[in-house]
Subunit: 389 residues, 2 copies
């Protein structure tokens, strides 16, 4: 029998760990057990949750780890059902954190990334280094000509450009217009240089309109999508993946701190941002570096990368360290996360003394500096400005 | 100009409150301000966020309250965009909790409950008392005959029956079969007694299939829907509401503890479970009573009820106190939350010594006891078993 195994960290009375664990296994499945008839027990045996492990981590603090196996056939293969069973009611029950879910073979229902690390490298024809991504800067309230100029400046040096996640389908700069301009500019650059660049347009709006909008994006020539997966729920990402549009999807971590930030409540970042987001079909997974402008622990960041890349029947997702990144951090980022990453920056590209194109170049030079010891003038200027830590 | 005003509780350095507040107002809108040209500033003025209030609540603990007004035209009228702007990146930035959102007139885009308190009372023709709801018990792994018997036993005495939120569209007991049986049983009871009962079937499965499944439910004769709104995201609830199927929607709080449980991170329960869920279109809002089987503070519970019922341009949502409720708690529940509520129980109905029908009756007797001092034998048996607190 196949199971979904959920692992929890709880704060509760250690002397009650047996009762607590059994209450989860029964309460989140068949409801009751000891008061059932033998006949009912025989019938319901295969629907009952099982306690896999229960461990007192810190008796004084009342810190417990409990793992429960839920029969796969209790649950339908969508993320709402999975999360409702393993953490629906339980999430409301005091200090409890869902820190992992293991799927025995349930993941057969989930295709995972369509492209992943290899597929994105194939699209760009770059195999020997981390990729460089940049985001638009100060784009809210701007029009098409501003957008086009900023897109071009970035596209002349970086590999992937992503929309600002707070830029929606607004009259000043509509979704379809961004795609059309993006295609034209990137095609021109390809004609001129032979270099492919991805532009991930932010797929936003009412949730039930997303499939049609994604199809429209493909038709209009978009070559990647940005998606705020955690404001829509993981199942929306899975649904987009299942459309098989042949477009890489960048998963943005917006709102995920509300679920992952607390050490005692919610869902661990490694599970939410990485394992489940990869399973749902993200090709690229953005997360904050632990030494940038946003708070995330080094352990969390490394665990996110490990889960994005670990061997599996599904493709690897590309980890995208982000937020407060500048060329002087490239060495540390590669040392921490390896070369199968996409280094992403906003201010660290646009804030370069010689502009965004030079800012993108500075990242390439930083990577070259890491690999060969030879940097370049753009990198030197960036380091002079931002330092190396 | 219309705004969306978000209110945050932060833990940070009180001496930096001005910088922090300004960073939010600018960073989550136009990106930068002081380094813009006068021309750019003039153009972007109407896109820039504004600090509305900033208050040091506890200097020693570094507890700050900050309210930011985001221009409405930065945001499209869907919950993903709202949450991405006001709490997307910010949710990841250390100890910060989103505790309220005010809409100046943005709520014109949101229809709110189709039925609400009055509409649900009209459907049931009950105006003078709290309603009584019960949930299926031990339904996982069971078949249609078990379902029908338990539905009938409940329907003979309660006003509303809801699916177990962990019962999905499974082969043992498919969604469509539950609706068909439900319609037949409830029609029979109406024929025999003239009494209308609602059965809220759990609308589940892949998110993009939900509109079609909801339409199918309506066609097959469903008279209410249960929806795990927080595993799908608020925008899915709004999308279902916008279908105008003329079916009341019960919003279940599953997974909401992952967002609302922590005092320092995430989104306040009053905002998440009540204000936004009502705005998105929930007719009934389930929440745990603070003295039942699940942990929730009394302040949170009262605030949830207040936001569900407060005067507004949209209809009131029916608060549904739940989890560990038995007839002996009815007095306390009405004292705490008033009579415009739906009292919901599982074990407190099914665990009655004389069965589920008697269990439902015991709740009616408890309400009568509260209002007139006259209880009844079912109530007495319940109190003998569970007490009154």
């Amino acid at each position: 029998m196949s199971h979904i195994i959920a692992k929890y960290q709880l704060h509760n009375n250690p002397s009650k760990i047996d009762t607590i664990a059994e209450k989860l296994a029964v309460g989140l499945t068949v409801g009751s057990w000891t008061d059932l008839t033998a006949e009912d027990q025989a019938h319901l045996e295969k629907y009952k949750g099982e306690v896999i492990t229960k461990e007192i981590i810190d008796a004084e603090k009342g810190l417990l780890h409990i793992a429960i196996a839920y029969p796969e056939h209790n649950i339908t293969p969508d993320f709402s059902s999975i999360l409702t069973t393993v953490f629906g009611k339980l999430s409301l029950d005091g200090k409890v954190k869902l820190f992992d879910i293991d799927f025995t073979d349930y993941s057969k229902h989930f295709k995972g990334p369509a492209f992943g690390v290899e597929g994105v490298r194939d699209l760009l024809n770059i195999y020997d280094r981390p990729l460089v991504m940049s985001i638009f800067k100060g784009i809210i309230g701007r029009d098409a000509s501003f957008f086009e100029a900023q897109l071009r400046a970035q596209a002349l040096s970086v590999d992937i450009i992503k929309d600002d996640e707070i830029l929606y389908d607004v009259p000043e700069l509509p979704f379809e217009e961004r795609i059309t301009i993006g295609k034209r500019v990137l095609d021109e650059i390809f004609e001129a240089t032979g270099r492919r660049v991805l532009y991930a347009v932010n797929l936003s709006g009412p949730v039930f309109e997303l499939p049609d909008k994604a199809r429209k994006a493909k038709q209009l020539g978009a070559n990647a999508l940005l998606f705020n997966v955690h404001t829509y729920g993981l199942d929306a990402l899975k649904g987009l993946r299942d459309l098989a549009l042949n477009l890489p999807i960048l998963a943005h971590p917006a709102l995920s701190g509300a679920l992952g930030g607390s050490p005692d409540y919610g869902i661990s970042y490694q599970l939410l941002l990485s394992k489940l987001t990869r399973l749902a079909g993200a090709d690229l997974i953005l997360f904050p570096v632990p030494y940038g402008s946003i708070e995330l622990t080094e352990d969390d960041a490394k665990s996110i990368v490990a889960h994005a890349l670990e061997a599996s029947t599904i493709k690897q997702a590309f980890p995208v360290p982000s937020a407060g990144v500048h060329p002087g951090l490239v060495k540390r980022i590669i040392d921490d996360f390896g070369e199968d990453i996409v280094i992403n920056a906003g201010g660290g590209v646009h804030g370069h003394p010689d502009g965004a194109t030079a800012g993108g170049e500075a990242f390439h030079e930083a990577i070259r500096h890491y690999k060969t010891g030879v940097g370049g003038k753009h990198y030197d200027k960036a380091v002079a400005l931002w330092g190396t830590s």
